[in-house]
């Protein structure tokens, strides 16, 4: 296979953008998932309605539309342009955070009621109840779904090629394919393998976290939570 070195070096120039967007997007997703997910269960109706609008609004509109909206419509409304990579991260985080919120809500509600009652009986404050009893158990349930969500997010970083961020898909499609068109097969196969490796890394990290989180509450990762890792609740 000729030109493999060229392909690799051009693609790896885009790698920092893909990795930064993925990692920062994941961090933002985690924050938004917990904030919005807990807000969905708030006792205040206003908070519940606001978080519901966020979740349904971002899940209901297409991610590509959100990306273009932030890039082309928002600057007109606020009068300045956000740095492209940041805007990209913002869209990735906002969109996947809306899906993550439902994961958090589902996992928290799956903690047996008796656990909450036990914590009340021990006269724990609501904050203690959440941080020391409910969340440690809920997190174990969340991790397989978050694994899926983070892989979705990694895959979504390819969309950033639409808004001139030089991540790996754009490097392949704008730099390599025009120059080496007959070798498009090799170029895109290499690109796909790069994504595969990155998603395997995400899965490996999440599996480790699953074990750690399960051990902390004195469990083994359950077979049930494993089987949930097969993509339920994407839409």
């Amino acid at each position: 296979m000729d030109n493999l070195g060229t392909f690799l070096s051009v693609l790896s120039q885009g790698l920092p953008f893909t990795i930064i967007a993925t990692v920062a997007g994941i961090l933002l997703t985690i924050v938004l998932s917990f904030v919005a997910g807990l807000a969905l269960m708030s006792s205040s109706k206003t908070v519940r309605v606001i978080s519901r609008i966020y979740v349904e609004g971002l899940r209901g509109t297409s991610e590509v539309v959100q990306l273009f909206w932030i890039f082309f419509a928002l600057p007109v409304l606020v009068g300045f342009q956000i740095v492209p990579l940041w805007a990209g991260i913002l869209v990735l985080g906002l969109n996947h955070g809306a899906y993550g919120a439902e994961i958090v809500r589902g996992a928290v509600q799956s903690v047996p009621r008796a656990q909450v009652e036990g914590a009340i009986a021990l006269s724990m404050t609501p904050a203690q109840r959440m941080c020391r009893v409910i969340l440690p158990q809920a997190v174990v349930e969340m991790l397989p779904s978050f694994n899926n969500l983070f892989i979705q997010l990694l895959k979504s970083t390819a969309l950033l090629s639409f808004v001139s961020i030089n991540e790996i898909t754009r490097q392949a499609q704008q730099v390599l394919v025009p120059r080496f068109n007959p070798q498009a097969f090799q170029i895109f196969l290499l690109l796909l393998v790069m994504y595969l490796i990155m998603s395997l890394v995400i899965t490996a990290i999440m599996r480790t976290l699953e074990r750690v989180a399960a051990a902390r509450v004195g469990r083994k990762p359950s077979a049930r939570s494993r089987s949930q890792a097969t993509g339920a609740g994407i839409a």
Partner: protein, 217 residues
Amino acid sequence: MNVWDWNFAGQIIPALLNGLRITLIATVLGSLIAFVLGLVLAILGRGPRPVRIVVRAIVEFIRSTPLLVQVYFLFFVLPAFGVVLPALTVGVLALGVHYATYTSEVYRAGIDAVPRGQWEAATALSLPRTRVWTGVVLPQAIPRVMPALGNYVISMFKETPLLIGIGVLDIVGQVREVGGQSFRYVEAYTLAGLLFLLLSYPASLAVRRLERRRAVR
């Protein structure tokens, strides 16, 4: 310059509807491929060990890599093998194959949920293999997986805009052209987003209702 121009917003509507037609065609045809191919993959996934391993590997590979790159892959690589297809056809194929890897998991779970006794009874009646599938297993598995399949149709609908990468003029492609001609993007993308919400939100509410009704039974 006003931020929002109702007149211009009105002018976008025809383009939006034109794009919607393409988006719906892509979603419907893509879903059909995903439903059929996904079932094939699920049944092959229960075959002999070597077949099972190959199918699993292909499914995992396609699921772990971006749909957009797969779209480009088909668009640029198929012509090298002498297959020149219109962009929309390439897009439909890519959507269908990508989502087939998801629906195959859905079918797999649905088939696993059919009680063992049903298989045993079918074998005891010495039904032929195809009859076991078409007469016993699938009629029980498929109704159970309908809500999950519905979710994937909605999610495919929202992913069709990435076909603009190969020049398909779906909803987003259309409004991008109209917006670009007049440099008015606020109306264009806001209306596009609202159109997606208008169609996908009721659809996902319907799927959730279906899910609850199934859960009660």
